[in-house]
């Protein structure tokens, strides 16, 4: 039997090597997109000028564009991609639902409601642009609470209803309900606030102040660290609650950790960039296809790299290289994400309860 063991070991090592190779490729892709995202934009800047902007203190207009606009925007795109994809991955595992994602299940809507309360509700002087320092944390916290509330509701629903599609439809209903509430709030708010809110809902990676970017980076980093700690729990949850419990997982604790982690990740992004669709649901599937594994020790870092890369690519596409038009980021992510989602639905038709 020794040869069989050795053969198995070689298989193991080979699949490990293959995974490492994909990791390296993904990492290089991420770096490439990051560079491209800084180099390309609606204003044509020569590559030499771009490099110059980083190293020479020339105070030209180009330097302002690169350091004040493109760099923060690229970092935002990277962070947003990672956060949404990770929350999507965790939700798919914890709900055992291939269609789960922050946008589809209404978590983003919940976050929007939190934001709407802050922007439209409490004060007539707060606008996303005027928020500074502590105000940003209020905005983000409201978003977490909103996301968390919907997440909790979906958790309760999915513990009662096992059917994936039913949960999905209920998620869509929730989103619509929340939109209705937000619409009513809009109806009663004044013009300035309404404009601020509508612009926010269009989703944008480029409107963050330095302070907001800091808040986003801190929150998402916390979420990433938490998700790295949750990989073992997520692996156990793949088998379902009963099996997870029988192999020694504290299911309630695991759910709570993942619940907090997802709310932070999806909530923070939505607070500053608006609801961005289909990244959270699509990226985990691309990563699963790529690595052909269900092991979160691989899926989590894979999703981090892929999520960042896809979002950077979306940002590059939204700027329509060579033209001066900038498309809404939501349109681009939808066009990238929806085909993946459709593919998953078609593939899962006969195994609607597996993912």
């Amino acid at each position: 039997m020794k040869t069989a063991v050795q053969k198995d070991l070689t298989n193991e090592i080979n699949s490990g090597r293959k995974a490492n190779l994909i990791f390296i490729c993904l990492f290089l892709l991420l770096i490439l997109f990051l560079i491209l995202d800084i180099f390309l934009g609606s204003v044509n800047i020569q590559p030499s000028e771009v490099i110059g902007a980083f190293f020479n203190n020339s105070h030209t207009g180009f330097q302002t564009i690169i350091l004040k606009f493109r760099l923060p925007k690229a970092i935002t795109a990277l962070t947003v991609g990672i956060a949404l994809s990770l929350s999507g991955l965790q939700m798919q595992t914890v709900f055992r639902n291939p269609m789960a994602g922050p946008y589809v299940l209404g978590i983003s809507s919940g976050a929007s409601l939190g934001v709407a309360f802050v922007i439209l509700g409490f004060s007539s002087t707060i606008t996303p642009e005027s928020l500074t320092g502590f105000g940003n944390w209020i905005l983000v916290a409201a978003s977490w609470v909103g996301a968390g509330a919907v997440m909790l509701l979906i958790m309760v629903i999915s513990s009662k209803v096992k059917d994936i599609m039913t949960v999905l439809i209920l998620g869509i209903m929730l989103s619509s309900g929340i939109s209705a509430v937000v619409t009513i709030m809009q109806y009663f708010s004044n013009e300035t606030l309404l404009k601020a809110y509508v612009i926010w809902t269009m989703g944008s990676l480029g409107n963050l102040t330095v302070n907001q970017l800091n808040v986003l980076l801190i929150s998402v980093s916390a979420g990433i660290i938490l998700s790295l700690f949750s990989s073992k729990m997520l692996n156990a949850l793949l088998l379902g609650e009963n099996y997870a419990g029988s192999i020694g997982l504290n299911v309630r604790f695991a759910r709570a950790v993942i619940f907090i982690c997802t709310s932070i990740l999806a909530g923070s992004v939505t607070a500053f960039c608006g609801p961005i669709g289909f990244i959270g649901i699509a990226v985990p599937h691309i990563v699963r296809i790529l690595f052909k594994t269900s092991d979160h020790k691989i899926l989590i870092p894979g999703t981090i790299l892929m999520g960042g890369a896809v979002m950077l690519a979306s940002d590059i596409l939204s700027q329509l290289p060579g033209s001066e038009t900038v498309l809404p980021i939501n349109a681009v992510t939808s066009l990238i994400g929806i085909p993946v989602v459709i593919w998953v639905i078609l593939r899962n038709r006969q195994y609607s309860d597996s993912f």
Binding site: N242, S246, G248, S354
Partner: protein, 340 residues
């Protein structure tokens, strides 16, 4: 109370069910049972009586309403989740469907209570996983996706997972329920091997009473008002299995552990002849509603003496010949018999 050194599990006045306080809904009266090292124990009871709930409660997935469960003379409440998962493994009736999960990964999840915070599978874990795959003859399938397995293979993979978990006790809820006959006996053989080696105590629920009687070391028979435990033969001699059938249509034969339908006897028939042919002819005439008579009857049956000779139905001077039991039964069911 005398301490039984071979006892691995003891269940004392255990009350199982759902809810708490005033909404408490106990499924059964307090249960008492025990299991020794290396025993294969079958849990028998009619549908919905609480077999699954009992097994879930024993696994610690569900809180008991009252009473005690002790593993290795230590109360289940004094175990941490991880410590309990190192002693007791569980297979439910739930079918695990995860895409992109390889058999190896599934079995590796059995190492969950033994690995560090990130779940790293070390060299020793790896060897245990390979050993578990080997014992269940699933080594060849290690790199296959579980979605590609047949029902029987998947169940073996689940058993490999529980073996990797390295627990002394394995609790299985209807492990053979959805399997075809071949897989069913393969799984059963595996369970028998594992418990026979003395390292595993297996408690499993089943609806297959004949299988339980022939294979299990002990049976926990769950009835409406009590749990009766004992060797299958003891329960059979005490006639306990009769309580499983409250209807008057099914009868349990305590002579050979088989079931039959109660039906009005149409009469008795005398059989002339011996051997294999006699055994199956008896079965056939029993099903047709006749008994085998010790005295001569009219008509009576002469069994074939060679493979090519016919069955003969003798009624005085009239002798009818039949090429098969099927034809014989067709004729017999239209005749009335009388003893002479």
């Amino acid at each position: 109370m005398e301490m039984n050194s071979k006892e691995i599990l003891s269940v004392d006045s255990l009350r199982i069910g759902y809810g708490s306080g005033k909404n408490e809904n106990a499924l059964l009266p307090p249960l008492n049972a025990s299991a020794n090292f290396g025993e294969l124990i079958a849990v028998i009871g009619r549908n919905g009586i609480g077999k699954s709930t009992l097994l879930r409660t024993l696994t610690g997935l569900q809180q008991p309403l009252g009473g005690n469960i002790s593993y290795y003379w230590k109360n289940i409440k004094d175990y941490t989740r991880i410590a309990l998962a190192q002693k007791v493994g569980y297979i439910s009736t739930e079918i695990v469907k995860v895409s992109n999960m390889r058999v190896y990964d599934l079995v590796a999840l059995g190492r969950f209570p033994h690995t560090n915070w990130i779940g790293k599978v070390g060299m020793r874990d790896h060897e245990i996983i390979l050993d578990a795959l080997k014992k269940t003859s699933m080594s060849f399938f290690a790199q296959k996706f579980i979605s590609e397995l047949s029902d029987g293979e998947r169940q073996k993979a689940m058993i490999a997972r529980i073996l990797a978990q390295d627990t002394g006790i394995m609790i299985m809820d209807e492990p053979t329920a959805f399997l075809d006959i071949a897989s069913k006996y393969e799984i059963l053989h595996l369970m028998h091997q594992l418990s026979g080696s003395g390292t595993k105590t297996i408690i499993f629920s089943t609806h297959d009473l004949q299988m339980a009687i022939s294979q299990a070391d002990k049976i926990w028979l769950i009835l409406e008002n009590e749990l009766i435990e004992g060797a299958p033969e003891d329960l059979m001699l005490a006639g306990e299995f009769d309580h499983l059938f409250d209807s008057s249509t099914v009868m349990f034969n305590s002579e050979d552990g088989t079931f039959s339908f109660r039906s009005e006897t149409k009469g008795a028939v005398y059989l002339e002849g011996e051997g294999n042919k006699r055994f199956w002819t008896e079965k056939a005439i029993n099903r047709a509603g006749f008994k085998v008579s010790k005295e001569k009857t009219l008509p009576f049956i002469i069994l074939p003496t060679t493979n090519h000779s016919p069955w003969k139905l003798v009624n005085g001077t009239e002798i009818l010949e039949f090429r098969s039991l099927y034809e014989l039964m067709g004729c017999l069911s239209r005749t009335t018999t009388r003893s002479i």
